[in-house]
């Protein structure tokens, strides 16, 4: 049994104009101590998937329309309010994209970390533990910083505080939703190193959500690529990045500009990411796909295992016709 098991999750959003499905049949497994990256462009449903794990979406407008999420074997959708509280910030820690927006601006950061300790670890000495957590997250002079307000800290330091807060309850699963997107590259490198170190020390599982394919490499064991609410490719990170099988994954990797490559033009994916509810009848990537062919336009492909551990949702899989799938 894996620590996190998502089976066929479906999430809808209801608005005046109707009901649209933003996450459609997502299934994932994450073992303790491993890292899974969820990659996708905006609107692909990756954040909604992550928020669903601790049922953090507001209902309505969100509706959990189907599927199951199990944490350590227990279905999240059947938990009562008290059990949910133990999961939120307890068993599952969250780190969000904008530390400045996630921290309470009128509360000293030490106090904010203490809140989680009082709730989830009533036995411990909160003062000491706050200092230990701040130190663990690489914050210099933690005794002084604990008394700072968020605005007194830089973006990188704020994100370290967020991580310290997420770790306060000794979570078994850390959900990091675009944790470095708001940060500069040099600070991004620091935070990613920190997450790797912490995982080595504490052995928790990490679900890392990002739009940046470049940080996936070296950060995760497995990766799932999402497009238009569905997983389109799933597999070991190194294999997927070096030999992408879905045309979307391949195109996405191609469109990332790289240092010292010297190509005159970037390979762009034509068109735009479709809005939820406006997907084409067949494969959702079909209108932008360089490999589109019948039956792509009429029949939606299923996610299938084309090689051991490699799952792809596409009628066309690179190398399949010639029988050279890895």
């Amino acid at each position: 049994m894996a620590l996190l098991e998502i089976d066929n999750l479906a999430v809808d959003f209801v608005s005046d104009t109707g009901r649209v499905r933003v996450v459609d049949g997502v299934s994932l497994r994450l073992e303790a101590g491993r890292t899974l990256c969820l990659v996708g462009e905006s609107g692909s449903g990756k954040s909604v998937t992550a928020l669903s794990i601790a049922r953090l979406l507001q209902t309505p407008p969100a509706v959990y329309a189907g599927g199951e999420i199990r944490l350590d074997g227990r279905n999240v959708f059947t938990l009562n309010q008290r059990e949910l509280c133990a999961v939120r910030g307890g068993m599952v820690g969250y780190v969000f994209q904008e530390p400045a927006a996630s921290l309470n601006p009128v509360m000293r950061v030490g106090r904010q970390i203490e809140e989680s300790l009082l709730l989830h670890r009533p036995g411990c000495d909160p003062g000491q533990e706050v200092i230990r957590l701040l130190k663990l997250c690489g914050i210099p002079a933690p005794e002084l910083r604990a008394r700072d307000f968020p605005f007194q800290l830089s973006g990188g330091m704020q994100q370290r505080v967020m991580i310290a807060m997420a770790l306060a309850a000794q979570p078994r699963l850390l959900l990091a939703d675009e944790p470095t997107t708001a940060l500069d590259v040099t600070i991004q490198a620091q935070i990613l190193d920190l997450l790797r170190d912490l995982q080595r020390q504490l052995g928790m599982a990490i679900l890392l959500i990002t739009h940046n394919l470049a940080i996936v490499d070296g950060m995760s064991d497995d990766m799932a690529v999402m497009y238009a609410g569905q997983i389109v490719e799933l597999g070991p990170t190194a294999a997927v990045l070096r030999n992408p099988l879905h045309p979307y994954t391949a195109a996405l990797i191609q469109s990332v500009p790289r240092l010292q490559v010297g190509a005159r033009r970037l390979t762009a994916i034509p068109g735009t990411v479709p809005q939820p509810g406006q997907y084409s009848a067949g494969c959702r990537f079909y209108p932008r796909c360089p490999q589109a062919r019948p039956p792509c336009d009429t029949q939606p492909p299923e996610l299938r295992e084309v090689a051991p551990g490699r799952w792809v949702r596409s009628w066309y899989v690179a190398g399949e016709e010639s029988g050279v799938v890895p």
Binding site: V185, Q190, L259, Q260
Partner: protein
């Protein structure tokens, strides 16, 4: 002769605790920058947030007033111009902004947005001619004018909105486009479209670009030369291939090494400690010495290094880089 020449440009912002209280200190956002851009050239400007790259771009476009220094366009000074003289010169440089949502008026149609510069400058006064012009502009950025002109910004995706912003900037046929993080708010797959579009437009129109971004890979791709800023000062300038291939300033090296890339090992990465110091009280000597892995005590923290030539078109402001290139940590 260069199209744009910037000499000793400084932009300092006052720090005032209250509206009427005395100025406590000055934020030196841009602190003595010299820069030239040739006709038809693309110059990239990179640095971390707070390094002054956006302020520099805005000062060049006269959206903030420089505290000191000069900006010359086609050899004529544009700092200090006012009123109609400033409006005339603004026709020759336009700006593309980062946020495609915030930079388009939500209550104007796309046709109105792209026509606005023409109206302001009194060009194409005849309605039919103006519409034809707007249609041609939209077409040149890859939008279908028939369907786009009557619609509003919210009906377009981020990438399409950025195209509209580009069409608006091109309406006055500028010689220089100042692009401030034009792709950083866009999805990766769309980013490439906009970068390609800017390159195509430049090939066709021969305009110069000042491309400001924090993403070194994008900047290297599009620029002929790259300028690296740190705390309001230029620390290194070089042709883009040289800058990325053999950077000389330790800050540039750290910046390049921090860029995450597919298929690049993270083993011998230089991870800088700490944050960018406050531009209100920059460190003494070389502003980078507080984070520099190879700074020498008594030298780097005492004397500020000047920007000096070290190779063809390659300038660097670092004491240690001038001594011997071997002492710099390798990538």
């Amino acid at each position: 002769m260069s199209l744009l020449r910037v000499e000793g440009l400084k932009v300092h912002f006052p720090v005032q605790p209250g509206l009427f209280s005395p100025v406590r200190s000055w934020i030196r956002a841009v602190d003595g920058v010299d820069l030239e851009i040739d006709s038809g050239e693309t110059v990239g400007l990179v640095g971390e947030s707070g390094c002054g790259k956006t302020t520099l771009g805005r000062a060049i476009a006269r959206l903030v007033e420089p505290t000191a220094g000069h900006v010359f366009l086609d050899g004529a000074e544009i700092t200090g111009l006012q009123g109609s003289a400033l409006r005339d010169v603004r026709r020759r440089f336009q700006m593309i902004f980062q946020d495609p949502h915030g930079s388009l008026n939500p209550r104007m149609t796309i046709g109105g947005i792209v026509a606005e510069p023409l109206v302001i400058h009194g060009l194409e006064r005849e309605r039919g001619a103006r519409d034809r012009r707007v249609a041609a502009l939209l077409e040149s950025v890859g939008l279908d004018p028939g369907s786009a002109m009557q619609r509003y910004p919210h009906e377009f995706s981020g990438g399409q909105r950025q195209r509209i912003g580009i069409a608006r900037a091109l309406a006055l046929e500028p010689r220089l486009l100042v692009c401030d993080e034009p792709v950083s708010a866009l999805d990766v797959s769309v980013q490439a479209q906009i970068v390609n579009l800017l390159q195509d437009l430049q090939d066709r129109l021969g305009i110069s670009l000042l491309f400001i971004a924090h993403d070194l890979a994008v900047v290297e791709h599009i620029s002929r030369r790259v300028v690296v800023m740190y705390l309001g000062k230029i620390v290194e300038v070089a042709p883009s291939r040289v800058l990325v291939g053999s950077p000389r300033h330790p800050y540039t090296q750290a910046l390049i090494s921090a860029v995450p890339e597919i298929n690049r090992t993270t083993e011998n990465r230089i991870v800088l400690e700490g944050d960018v110091p406050s531009p209100a009280s920059p460190p003494s000597g070389c502003a980078f010495h507080t984070r520099c892995p190879i700074a020498e005590k008594g030298r780097c923290d005492g004397v500020m290094p000047e920007l000096r030539q070290i190779g063809p078109g390659h300038f660097v402001a670092c004491h240690l880089a001038w001594d011997s290139p071997k002492t710099i940590v390798g990538l």
